[in-house]
């Protein structure tokens, strides 16, 4: 049995249905570049329940990080605009909130950790103070209480000698330690939703496993929902309950982890799964790859964005874009030919 399949077998089953804590619907982001405006995200939708981890996967440039930043409302500039959709946190549309109200929610009810622990922390502020900040800002915790809480949080994210580390500055810590610190910052106010944007990509493989384990434990302990962004299907298999696959700024398939790995319904998902190297006893077959490249956002085709690379594509696929279609209680796919996958 391959390591991956083994991991899939161990993956926790999807949580019992409940009201989603975060629901993203029809999210669209537009980027203006000189004379052109390109659609970087189109009709992105998914939902997250309490204590559930949704893996958001896709290639570089598919819009995973942009989705995360958009729902945190951290992207808006003069050139980037969230122009469609809804991001409902417990029924409240975040996109409609004034910035000050959004600031009250960030770090308190919805937190984010980033890909690069080496640059995500302020180099001139001590670790302890950076963890204290959200507590003091959102919960009005006093100086001394916040200091103690910061040490406790460091302890909780598995940092030994927490009291000493709290007095250190970021440059004195390794990448793995720093990522633990950013996690401590993110969970300080016990948020409902944690957005983790490729939290292990910049780390050594052994440290990756530790950080994923930590995130899983924290989630179980605190019951928060987690949006885990990654391009690593192995990470998804080990950590997520459900998966949303993105391609060229759209969600092309959502499914529970087990179902997705057993039977992908989108040709792109299938291609992704086939391109994972496996450790097998028999002489391995050549590693499959998806032919072609992701289309540029400036030249998105009329029809399905994957059609040009898809072995199942028909004239219909090229002519008309398929919408995300529900094909099971927990599964949806955007493909005209999903029955043939």
């Amino acid at each position: 049995m391959s390591l991956l399949a083994d991991a899939v077998a161990r993956a926790a089953p999807a949580q019992a249905a409940g009201a989603p804590v975060l629901r993203v619907e029809g999210l669209g982001v537009r980027i203006r570049t000189g004379r052109h405006a390109l659609r970087a995200l189109d009709d992105v939708g998914f939902s997250l329940r309490r204590a559930e981890t949704l893996g958001l996967v896709g290639e570089s440039g598919s819009g995973k990080t942009l989705t995360a930043l958009a729902l945190m409302r951290l992207v808006e500039t003069s050139a980037i605009e969230i122009d469609r959709g809804q991001v409902a946190l417990d029924g409240v549309d975040l996109l409609g909130l004034p910035e000050r109200a959004m600031e009250d929610l960030r770090g308190r009810r919805i937190s984010m950790i980033f890909q690069e622990p080496m640059t995500a922390l302020n180099p001139v502020i001590s670790i302890g103070r950076q963890i204290e900040e959200p507590l003091r800002r959102h919960l009005g915790t006093g100086r001394r209480a916040a200091r103690d809480a910061a040490v406790a949080l460091l302890d909780q994210v598995g940092i030994r000698d927490a009291a000493r580390i709290a007095r250190c500055h970021p440059h004195e810590l390794s990448g793995g330690m720093r990522q633990r610190v950013t996690i401590a910052i993110a969970i300080a106010c016990r948020p409902d939703v944690l957005v983790a944007d490729e939290p292990t990509t910049a780390l050594d493989v052994t440290v990756q496993a530790q950080i994923l384990g930590l995130l899983r434990d924290l989630q179980a302990e605190m019951g928060m929902a987690m949006l885990l962004i990654t391009h690593d299907l192995g990470v998804v298999a080990e950590t997520a309950h459900r998966v949303a696959v993105m391609y060229a700024g759209r969600v092309v398939e959502t499914a529970p982890v087990g179902a997705l790995f057993r039977r992908p319904r989108h040709p792109y998902t299938r291609g992704l799964l086939r391109s994972i190297p496996r450790i097998a006893r028999e002489r391995p077959a050549a590693l499959a790859e998806i032919p072609g490249t992701v289309p540029g956002l400036l030249a998105l085709p009329e029809g399905c964005a994957f059609a040009a690379r898809c072995e199942l594509a028909t004239a219909h696929c090229v002519a008309e874009r398929p919408a995300l279609e529900r094909i099971g209680p927990e599964q949806a796919v955007a493909c005209w030919r999903h029955q043939h996958v």
Binding site: R106, V124, R137, T182
Partner: protein, 317 residues
């Protein structure tokens, strides 16, 4: 931190020696030489000049001259002026307060205004304010300081008669603070304007750079308010290069003060230098070169210490 300061102090010693060597050599290379003033005096003949040369020790080899001069400086004996024979150190030190007052107030104005304009320009990048500030700074930097000085005197002293045109006091008003401030306004404004212009540019680019850093996004993701992000997260990081720049820029500020002092008749070190130059007062010129060098070295030292106080990484170096 103490270790860092001690190391930096030790490192400045060779710097001081080097600067004094260069200063000494430059003065020797300058045409005319220290005795040129006497050759113009008809009552002093060639034998007298030769005697003065021996008295001054100018007949000795140059390295002996340097060592004698340098050890004298260390003991506080900076020599005497040609005219009046007063101790050079006293002559320089009595000019220090006036220069410090002018440079200090001009710098204070420039740092406050320059930072404010620069930060606003960085935060509201490509706004109308940003464009106005940019072109304003360019305008101020394209004109020489003396032109602004003359225009200021013409408009505010000659035409409007609001402020005095120069000097530090009216006669008999030496203890009047109000009078001093009135005299301070124009030179401070002119010197401050030029420094503000360059500092607003430095501050803008420093803050632009810092605002794009990942940790600023982390600070936003924490839900911190704008002012908290700006003051606690951006400011210390952005101000580091500005402090370093201040240390490096001190000599330029000094030369700016030289022009402003000359135009406004401000009795500071800049005027002293210009006067000493025209009178070939070698002892004063030598003294001032060393004094400014020390001043700049100390300024840089303070800048380094300040940066180390902000950024723990610097202390390791």
């Amino acid at each position: 931190m103490l270790r860092f300061i001690a190391t930096r102090l030790l490192q400045s010693i060779p710097l001081v020696i080097g600067v004094s060597l260069i200063g000494f050599a430059l003065m020797h290379l300058a045409p005319g030489g220290p005795l040129a003033v006497y050759t113009l005096n008809p009552s002093i003949n060639a034998q007298d000049i030769e005697r003065i040369r021996i008295i001054f020790g100018l007949d000795q080899p140059i390295h002996i001259q340097y060592v004698k001069w340098a050890t004298g400086m260390l003991r506080g004996d900076w020599g005497n002026t040609f005219f009046g024979g007063r101790p050079v150190l006293d002559v320089i030190l009595e000019r220090v307060p006036a220069t410090m007052l002018l440079m200090g107030s001009a710098l204070a104005v420039a740092i406050v205004l320059g930072l404010a304009i620069g930060i606003l320009g960085a935060v509201k990048r490509h706004s109308i304010f940003d464009y106005l500030a940019t072109s304003g700074a360019l305008f101020a930097l394209s004109f020489p300081t003396f032109w602004f000085g003359l225009m200021a005197i013409y408009v505010f002293a000659v035409r409007l008669r609001w402020l005095p045109s120069g000097g530090m006091f009216e006669l008999g008003e030496e203890d009047n603070i109000i009078d001093l401030l009135r005299h301070l306004v124009l030179p401070t404004a002119v010197l401050g304007l030029v420094i503000t212009a360059s500092w607003s540019r430095y501050a803008r680019s420093a803050f632009l750079e810092v605002l794009q850093q990942d940790y600023m996004r982390t600070a936003r993701a924490k839900g911190l308010r704008f002012h908290q992000r700006l003051l606690r997260h951006a400011f210390p990081n952005a101000v580091k290069p500005l402090i370093a720049l201040l240390g490096v820029e001190l000599p330029f500020l000094f030369s700016g003060a030289l022009v402003a002092e000359t135009i406004f008749g401000w009795p500071g070190m800049g005027r002293l230098f210009v006067d000493a130059l025209s009178m070939k007062e070698y002892p004063i010129l030598m003294g001032m070169i060393v004094f400014t060098a020390l001043f700049v070295i100390v300024g840089n030292l303070l800048a380094d210490v300040a940066i180390a106080a902000i950024d723990p990484r610097v202390r390791l170096a």
